[in-house]
Amino acid sequence: MYKYIYIIPETIGRSVLRMCASIGRIAIFFYDFFMCLITPPIYIKSLLSQLVRIGYNSLPVIGLTAFFTGGVLALQIYVGGSRFNAENIVASIVALGITRELGPVIAGLMLAGRVSASISAEIATMRVTEQIDALITLSTNPMKYLIVPRVLAAVISLPILVIIADIIGIMGGFVVGTKSLGFIEQSYIKNTLDIIEFRDVISGLIKAAVFGFIVAFMGCYHGYNSTGGAQGVGRSTTLAVVSASILILASNYILTSLVFTN
């Protein structure tokens, strides 16, 4: 009976220790990554192909989700706004909501699903099939050859994707607003342009760069440290998507509250 008293503190203690250990490992991985980032060579060819894979190939997914998000936002604001006769704020709220929050967050989360998963599965497979060891025996630093191009490509791609998502998202709101809610096209456009300020867009783009880093870095970290064969590949993929998504939402809150509220 007596020994059961210890179970709760023991469980808590163990998870805290495990969390500290993973934070430590991620920090070491980041240090290695950073040292590789600032020393030559940079593999330009890999960087370009990752830009295509992470950025260009994500366009359809990001475009579609942004369009529907903008559309549904317009509908909801209209319904909510009409309760206190404020239907006219639809254009403004769609514009601000998309550029400041939903554009970067939706694009980040879609990339966490699409890109974190595929990076992590790819690198984990390379780990279990000894391709990463083979890189080392061929005088190539795997951190430089695999990790740096992927992380750089995501940090560059996501802000560009978010600009496109902003435009398409606002367009989604515009289509719903003018075709189904009866707004006049010219005034909808004018309301949108009047409300958006440069810093709204910029804050969204800075968030996007941070989310891009999180997405690729988590995919690389979990893939690179994968163990345990095919099952391990699956496990690291899940971990990559889950940790990237949580970190995106958490860092979004932190960035918004610390930097972008005033």
Binding site: T125, M126, T129, E130, Q131, D133, A134, L135, I136, T137, L138, S139, T140
Partner: protein, 253 residues
């Protein structure tokens, strides 16, 4: 005696499981050294320690009389002097055969000639022709992948070659083809070869010298021709492939 590689009292544990226990072995230049031993006796771990893919807990490794450690491997350009054939070939799936074979060459900035000529030349050495140059690893059979991996291992004319279970997972005929290729390649490149295997037929075919590993240490070393007269009960049991003898299989291992 001229030793390419000297390994002195190497030990490595994973957690409380000790894999290498003060292993020592010297590898003579221009010989084909085979290291045999049962599964899980630490053969791959030994190779990975030499290659710097795993860090040993204690002990030293000397390559051409220079100590090999984390820092030093880059300084003496260790990796451009060796070639490694991995057990599962470990070809890069995103690159075609030519890019795989010449992967390490770009970094040498060598003027050995045009990359595709080098690739064709190395392919010829492993019995393949230029028709596979632009195929991807997933389009090749297991035996062909092994051959391409062998071509990649010899691409930089290394002085030291490592083979991890080169015949495992191949049918007996393809295994023999690979054994012959290894012999030809060793002769032609003039390299020292270290092969780890549990395939006795392969060992007899390619070895000048054989060492046997048991519980993380070398328990017998000698010329390949003496393997049948070793008078060592462990070696005898291993080459007979018998479950009766001093080697006890721990099924929980």
């Amino acid at each position: 005696m001229d030793h390419v590689l000297k390994i002195n009292e190497l030990s490595k544990s994973f957690g409380d499981k000790s894999v290498l226990n003060g292993l020592s072995i010297d590898i003579e230049r221009n010989t084909s050294q085979v290291i045999i031993g049962g599964s899980g006796t630490g053969k791959s771990v030994l190779l990975k320690c030499i290659l710097g893919l795993i860090e040993a807990d204690s002990g030293e490794i000397y390559f051409n009389q220079q100590i090999l450690d984390k820092k030093n491997r880059a300084e003496i350009d260790f990796y451009s002097k060796i070639g490694m054939l991995f057990q599962g070939a470990a070809l890069f799936d995103s690159l075609n055969v030519q890019e795989n074979i010449t992967f390490g060459i770009k970094k040498l900035e060598s003027n050995l000639g045009n990359l595709s000529d080098i690739a064709v030349d190395k392919l010829k050495k492993v019995g393949l022709d230029s028709s596979v140059l632009h195929l991807y690893p997933s389009e090749l059979s297991g035996g062909m992948q092994k051959r391409v991996a062998l071509a990649r291992a010899i691409a930089r004319n290394p002085e030291l070659l490592f083979f991890d279970e080169p015949t495992t997972g191949l049918d007996p005929i393809m295994a023999d083809v690979i054994n012959n290729l290894i012999n030809e390649v060793i002769d032609e490149v003039g390299a020292t070869a270290i092969t780890i295997t549990h395939d006795m037929d392969s060992a007899k075919k390619i070895a000048d010298k054989i060492s046997m590993l048991y519980k993380g240490a070398v328990i017998w070393s000698g010329d390949a021709k003496d393997i049948h007269s070793s008078n060592n009960p462990y070696v005898d049991q291993f080459i007979e492939g018998s479950s009766e003898g001093p080697i006890k299989i721990n099924l929980n291992d």
